[in-house]
Every structure is written in structure tokens, then in C-alpha cells.
Symmetry: C2
Subunit: 223 residues, 2 copies
């Protein structure tokens, strides 16, 4: 009964496939930060024409995965320590807004849904399946945006989420299969099921601080 967040089949089009694929290549480190991309080469490798590729590029440039300098270059975004701290502070603000919005709207079904997502996450972690663990941690954190019933906020999250995915994957590549820590989200979920909104808001802040501490060491000196 888990609600996987997939794109509807109806919206499957070449440009979206291409965008997803490029995003995947970046997240999993095949395309590396700072690397230059030439359209024609990429189009040939992906086996598509330039038109849908260029549209996909617009999409990825809009969300910050590619840096497009007209007539000059197209490069893969090189994420820095600063980008990471920015991501987490923005993410905290968005997630806190989500909890404020959803707090009076939560139903028992929503609570069950959240616990289900947590169980799935803990299962993946227990099995050492870190790829699934990443997906499910993201899915867990998507819960508040699903329930908040706030489309513009959900859109903002949908642009932030792939960036988080990138850092999770980075962390995984650096530390082997250690994705999220075992039961690291138990308290987060417990408070989310409770009645104390202020406690939840500070739990979000604390959770973000923990997250950033895990990933920060992966960056050395840069800016």
C-alpha cells in the first residue's frame, strides 16, 4: 500500500527521460562536478536528437544541476561545502513550514503512512541495501510535503530533493554502504506523530544539523 512517488506514465516523454538520466548520471558520479558537456556528444551518447536534449538541459539548469553559460559552455554543477550548508538551511525552512501547515490537517491515515515509510526505511537499512535506503529516506522526508497540501511548497521541495539525493549518494560512495544510520529517524517520526508542534520544529532543526555533520566532512577545502 506504499505510495511510491513516481511520475505518471502520461508525462513520460523523451525530454523527461533524458532529464532523469542526466540527473542520475550526476547523482551517481558518472558525470563529475565541473566537467564540461558538449551537446552533440551527449546527444550521440544518449541516442537522442538535440531538441529534446536541449529542453532537458533547460530543466536541469533551472534546478541547478547544470551550469549553462550561453554560447560559452555547459558544465556539471560543482557542489561545494557552501552549497551543502545552503541546502540544509533552506531545506529546514521548507520542512518546518510543511509541518506548520500539516499539523492541524493530519489524519490517522497520514500517521499510519508515515510509520509505514519509517518501517520501510529501517528494513532497507537493516538489510544493508543502501540504494533503497536512500530512496526511502527521501520518501520519508517527502511525507510532510505530501500531507501539507501546499503545492507551491511541494514544488520547492521537488527541486531541493534531487540535491539531497546527490549528497546522500556522495556520502554512500565515500563510506561504503552506510547510508542513513539505523533508527536515526525513529525519534523524528515519533515526534511527528505527537502533539507538540514546537518540539517537531526543533526536531527538524536538530535532524538537519545531524545530517549536515555527516556530509560536511566529505568536502575539503573548497570555498
Amino acid at each position: 500500500m506504499e505510495a511510491l512517488d513516481l511520475k505518471p506514465i502520461s508525462s513520460r516523454t523523451r525530454r523527461s527521460d533524458v532529464a532523469d538520466e542526466i540527473r542520475r548520471l550526476i547523482i551517481f558520479g558518472v558525470l563529475k562536478g565541473g566537467q564540461r558537456i558538449t551537446e552533440v556528444a551527449l546527444a550521440a551518447q544518449l541516442g537522442v536528437s538535440r531538441q529534446p536534449l536541449r529542453e532537458a538541459i533547460r530543466e536541469l539548469a533551472e534546478t541547478g544541476f547544470l551550469i549553462s553559460e550561453p554560447y560559452k559552455s555547459l558544465t556539471v554543477r560543482d557542489f561545494t561545502k557552501r552549497d551543502l550548508t545552503e541546502l540544509y538551511s533552506l531545506r529546514a525552512a521548507l520542512e518546518q513550514l510543511a509541518f506548520k501547515e500539516l499539523w492541524p490537517k493530519r489524519t490517522d491515515d497520514d500517521i499510519r503512512d508515515l510509520r509505514c515509510r519509517l518501517d520501510q526505511l529501517n528494513d532497507s537499512v537493516a538489510q544493508g541495501d543502501s540504494a533503497a535506503g536512500i530512496e526511502r529516506e527521501l520518501h520519508l522526508h517527502t511525507w510532510c510535503f505530501d500531507v501539507a497540501d501546499h503545492r507551491m511548497l511541494a514544488d520547492a521541495w521537488s527541486r531541493v530533493r534531487p540535491h539531497l539525493h546527490y549528497y546522500y549518494a556522495l556520502h554512500q560512495r565515500a563510506h561504503g554502504r552506510s547510508g542513513p544510520l539505523r533508527h536515526a529517524h525513529d525519534e523524528y517520526v515519533a515526534i511527528a506523530c505527537g502533539d507538540d508542534l514546537d518540539a517537531m520544529l526543533s526536531s527538524v532543526a536538530v535532524h538537519m544539523q545531524d545530517g549536515i555533520q555527516n556530509v560536511l566532512p566529505l568536502f575539503g577545502d573548497e570555498e
Copy 2:
């Protein structure tokens, strides 16, 4: 010495011109909400080929001004009362985060810059130039994002800002030349120049509430 927020000349390209123009047509009501758009017709009217138009469309769909249903239709976003309240709650969260970030970073130059933006706004209002008033109100509210020195937050604002522009223009069309109220931002700026962050955060919240009350009546029954 005012720092106008223009796109650098280097990035001027046909697709960005087209995107700006379509956004403008939507904001000023030439293209109306719900209206269907056909690519070929629009390309002909704008005098460009379909490739840069499609890229511009991706950009506008990504930021919510156009609704693209692959293989089906491309329509102008029909904003509702709900969209407006969502915009204002998200905007408040972003602006509050900006002030938290900038608070320890403010320099005297920044303060002067802010006062300058306020003066320009009040000038426009006094002269009854509502188009300039809208621009300058947006420019005033962009100050906190300029100073916060938080690129991801600034990006989020840059997607929110055109929506706000839309509602301002809607308000102007409905109420004649009455844009922002005279000296409505004086207190906002005064507190922003002061030392009380909490006061600023609640000032942002109050300012948002005032803003939403001005625009809400323009929407009737919808959803």
C-alpha cells in the same frame, strides 16, 4: 547608484527573450489564465522558430506559469485564491530565512541601499507611476535576498518573485493605479535597519498578511 537587478548581457539569447516576453504577456493579462496555447501559432506571433520557444516553454512550465500536459495541451496557469495564499506563506518563510541569514552580515552600505530602495519606491508611489511602483516594491523586497548571500535561497526567491509580480499587476488592473500604499513599507524598512530580529520576523509576517488581504478580494469563488 541603485543596483538594478538585470540579467547580464552575456546571457541574452532568444530563448530568454522569449521566456521574458511570455512571462510579461501573462503578468499583464494579455495571455489569460486557462487559455490554451499552440506552439506554432505562438512561434509565428513572436517571430521565432519552435526550438527556442520550446526551451522557453520548459522554463516557464518549470516555474509554474505554463501548464504542460505532454501530447495534450499547453495552457496558461490559472491562478486561484489558493495559489495566492500558498505564495504568501512560502514567501514569508523565505523572507524570514533571508533575514535570519543577513542579520549578522548587514553593513552600513547595505542599510543605505535599503533606504535608497525605499525612497525610490515612495517616489514612484507619490508620482502615481504604478508600473514603476511595482518594480520598485519587488526590488525593495529583493534586498534581503541580495544581502543574505545565500544562493539557493536567492534562486527560490527568483522563482517566487514573478508570481508576486503577477498578483501586483492583477491588483493594479483591478484598482486603477493604486499599487502599493503610500509609505506602507516605512515601518518594514525601519525595523530592518534596527537591531531586533524577532521584531523583523514578525514584521515580515504582518506585512505578508496585509499584502494577502489586499489581493484576496480579487478572487471570487474559485476553489
